[in-house]
Each structure stands twice: as C-alpha cells, then as structure tokens.
C-alpha cells in the first residue's frame, strides 16, 4: 500500500481510440485512488463518460467527447486518499475444501489446516472486475502467498469456487473454465450476481471483502 499522498501519483493518459482514454496510474493503489477520483467527478457532473473501467494499474475512461481536455487536466488532479475511501465491507462465508488446498498449502509452506486462517485473516479490496460479469479481482494477499496459475486450466470450475492466483483472490460467479488454484467454496454463490439487484454484482470495484470460514 502506498501512503496515498498526491505527489506520489503520476497519471499518464494514453489514447484508446477517438472517444476513450486509458489512464496508466503506475501502481494498484494509485489506480484505486484514480478510480475514486473519477467516480467523484462523474457524480458531481465534472466528467461525462459512458463508463469507468478500472484495471490492475489503470482506469479506462470510455465514451468521452473530448479526450484531449481530460488528458490536459489529469496531471493536476488531487487524488482521493486511501484513508478517505472506506468502502462497504462484505463478508463471504466459505468452506475451505477446494481441490487445490493442499497444493496451495505446500506452496505457502504451511499445513493445509492453516490455509483457512491465513486466507480469512486478510481484508481484501475489489480492485477491478473482469473475466465474467460479477467476477472481482480481490487484492490484499501478502506477496509471500502469491502463487502461479495452474499449468493446465480446468475446463469447468463450479460456481462459488474461491481461488487464488498471482496477487489476487476471486470467487467464480458461474461455472466456467478457469486456471486459478481452488481453495474454498462459497456457501451461497447466487449472491455474487443478481440482475434484479442494483448493482447486479455483489463485489464492485472498491468493495472491502472478508472471507469467513464455516465448517460443514
């Protein structure tokens, strides 16, 4: 985590077609701050954009009439600091019973029983969504627990599977192919995506997430 000081950020506007700008923020923390600042500006009417799409270290501002005006403004922007950004916290009950639990324990250098404690003692933040509607890339896992993807992706990962790969953890909202290491199962995966709810995704960028171990 950075300190969030304004001077630490250097936002670099990159063209992404005639009506979009990709803002390269340099770090995940700066991207989160930049996304919050863009959201605030959009809410207050200072920015008109069809969509703001955060990435790992970027924010895509899509559907803007005059990209050059936004590009000119960017370097002078004060960014919203981490401490001000207390997003909503969502608790996700999970059962640590994933098929890759032992392999992950081995890579972490811990006993299989310790994986649940380690994974559920972290407060995560949804950095961005991708892959499939409602799938959030959750950041927060300390670097020593970052593991590679599986060498051969599974053709089917069941809905509700809780997985880790690289700096991220995530929960599959629906059954799909997947290459991440599966360590747990969400007891009620139907919560992740509900088209009749606003917003449809449970985990939107900025949401704080905690996993709670349950026994079956």
């Amino acid at each position: 985590m950075t300190t969030g000081r304004t001077t630490a950020h250097r936002l670099r506007p990159l063209p992404a077609g005639p009506r979009s700008i990709l803002i390269d923020c340099g770090t995940p923390a700066a991207a989160r701050s930049c996304y919050r600042s863009l959201q605030a500006r959009r809410m207050s009417g200072l920015l008109e954009a069809a969509d703001l799409v955060p990435g790992a270290t970027t924010v895509l501002v899509d559907g803007i009439d005059e990209p050059e005006l936004l590009a000119a403004e960017l370097p002078g922007w004060p960014l919203i600091e981490e401490a001000e950004a207390a997003g909503e916290t969502v608790e996700i009950p999970v059962c640590y019973d994933g098929p890759d639990l032992e392999a992950v324990a081995k890579m972490w250098g811990v006993a299989p029983d310790d994986v649940a404690d380690i994974h559920s003692n972290v407060e995560y933040e949804a950095a961005f969504c991708g892959f499939t509607p409602g799938f959030a890339y959750l950041e927060g896992l300390p670097e020593r627990f970052h593991v590679p993807r599986k060498e051969t992706p599974r053709t089917t990962v069941p809905a509700g599977s809780v997985a880790v790969a690289g700096p991220y953890t995530g929960v599959y909202p629906r059954s799909s192919p997947g290459g991440w290491q599966l360590i747990a199962t969400m007891t009620n995966p139907g919560r992740l995506w509900n088209e009749h709810r606003e917003p449809a995704a449970l985990l939107v960028p900025g949401t704080r997430v905690r996993f709670a171990a349950v026994r079956v």
Binding site: R10, R12, P13, L14, P15, A16, G17, P18, R19, S20, L22, D24, A50, D51, L52, V53, P54, G55, A56, T57, T58, V59, L60, D62, G63, P67, E68, A71, A72, P75, F128, C129, G130, F131, T132, P133, G134, F135, Y137, R174, E195, P199, A200, A201, V204, P205
Partner: protein, 296 residues
C-alpha cells in the same frame, strides 16, 4: 402483442438492441447489434423507435412465422427474401399476415442480416437490454428452432411509405480501417507502425461477435516476456497476443484483457468488421498518437 416463431434459426441468430453500455466496470460486455447502421436503418424502415430489438442472423439467414399481422424489414447483409415462398423486397417494409412465413436466405455478401419487426421484439431483458451476449451469456440464449419471441405493440405511426431500399455500403475483397494508434504502441518494435500501414491481414474463420481473428504479418513486441496487468478494453481495440496475430474486438468483447492493444479502429469501421467474412482482407491506415500522449 403476440409473437414470432423461429422455424429455422440458421447458423446463429440472436436478439440485438443497443446492448449494455456502461457496465464495463462489472465485467459486462457492451453487446448490441454488431452492424449498428444496418440495424438502425432496418428499425427505422419498420417504423420502430431507436433502440428496438431485432434479429441478427449469421451467414445463412433465418426463417420466421408471424403470429399476428406485422411489418418486417430485412436489412444488413443483402439476401433473398420470401414470404410464403414468394419473392419479396429486401431493405423495404414487407407486410406479414398472421401465420405467414418469412424466409431471409443466405447472405449474398457480408455476414449479418437484420430482421426488424414493427413493434420490436421483447424477449426477457437483462440489465435493461434484450441483446444476446456470446461472451458472458447475458440476455436471451442464441435462438433455436421452435423458439418464440414476444412482439411489442405496433408503433403508433405506421412504417414510412418508402420505396427506397436500405443503403448497403457493400463489402469489397479488402477493407481499409483507420486505426488510432495506442494505448500500448510503445510495447511494440519501432517498425510495427510501418508494418501496420503496409501489411494485409485475412479474417480467420475463428471470428465471431467477440472479435475478428486476423492472420497476417506478426506484430512483434519489444519484450515478448513482459506481462501486461489486466486493463480495460474498448470495442474496436486491436489486441496483440503473444503469437503476434491480432484480434479486432467487436460488440461482445471482454471488458479487460492482459495483452497489449496497439491501436483502436473508429466506430465507423465496426460495421464493416461485423460484415467481414472469413477470407476478407483487412488493411489499416494508422493515425498517429495525439500530441497529449507524448508529454513526459
């Protein structure tokens, strides 16, 4: 109200309207009609308000039975049109009586024909749109033989008493697209821009609403091993995976991706891309990065 019935769904027939723009931050692709100008015009000629849902066919058309009197316009990729076996006009309002069968045949050129019905189609919406998304599975499933789709109430103003056919830009053996360079041009070797301006790529048969896979000169990166953290993608993005063979993203594109985008074609080229058959040649006219991207 009543409905239409799909008698022959063809290779791929989907419901399409304006799609779901604005939900990219939840990983929802924009979707919507792949060839917007053709879809819009077919709806206009059918007397529908902007944004009405129509059928989008792929290569070999579709056959539909009307279960009430309805006006239909077949636009987009030109194709033979029959009603109860008798030839009818393409690109013009055609009246169907309840029980009549409309056939839109194989596309003579292009890929996607649009069947716009007066009143529009009203399958179950998802996030406010009736569009099928092949990538995410949102919206109605691709249509199967025997499916029925509700029709909306007939428009208050009847279809224009028009005799002019829907204009069709036509598809040549080669399409030239303006390509706005960036955002990740610097990931590629300096000769990439000249390569883009000179090269000819062929649309692969592994192409769909998600994107066109292009086969041609490989676009080489400065550092082939470097990994790009996932970042947002727009429709029209020309993404270059490690093979160097680019993908031109269409309406059902993923919202984020981990391979660099060398350039983005403008909206005017998306319709042509949607009508480009496998085997069509694609050339690019690169547009330099704007002045503001070069500072610092």
């Amino acid at each position: 109200m009543s409905h239409i019935e799909i008698l022959r769904a063809g290779a791929l027939t989907t419901c399409q309207d304006t799609g779901r723009p604005g939900w990219g931050h939840l990983a929802v692709p924009p979707s919507g009609a792949a060839d917007r100008p053709s879809w819009r015009l077919a709806n206009q000629l059918a007397g529908n308000p902007t944004g009405a849902c129509a059928l989008e066919t792929t290569l070999n058309g579709a056959t539909v039975r009307a279960h009430r009197n309805v006006t239909v316009v077949v636009g987009g990729a030109p194709c033979p049109v029959t009603v109860d076996g008798r030839p009818e006009a393409w690109g013009q309002p055609v009246k169907l009586r309840a029980g009549s069968v409309l056939d839109a045949g194989p596309a003579e050129v292009g890929v996607r024909s649009y069947l716009a019905f007066s009143g529009g189609l009203h399958p179950k919406p998802s996030l406010g749109s009736h569009s099928t998304c092949l990538l995410s599975g949102l919206g109605p499933a691709p249509l199967k033989d025997g499916d029925t789709i509700p029709l909306g109430p007939s428009p208050a103003h009847p279809p224009l008493p028009t005799q002019w056919p829907a204009p069709w830009a036509g598809i040549s053996a080669e399409i030239v697209m303006k390509l706005h360079l960036g955002p990740r041009l610097e990931w590629f070797r300096p000769e990439a821009v000249a390569e883009l301006a000179r090269g000819l790529w062929i649309v692969s048969e592994h192409s769909n609403r998600i994107g066109l896979r292009l086969e041609g000169p490989a676009l080489r990166r400065v550092d082939a091993e470097r990994e790009l953290p996932s970042e947002g993608i727009v429709a029209g993005a020309l993404q270059v995976p490690p093979s160097g063979q680019p993908i031109l993203f269409g309406a059902d594109h993923p919202t984020t991706g981990g391979y660099p985008v060398i350039g983005v074609v403008g909206p005017e080229s998306l319709a042509a891309a949607a009508q480009a058959r496998p085997g069509t040649g694609i050339r690019f006219a690169p547009i330099p990065m704007p002045y503001w991207s070069k500072r610092g």
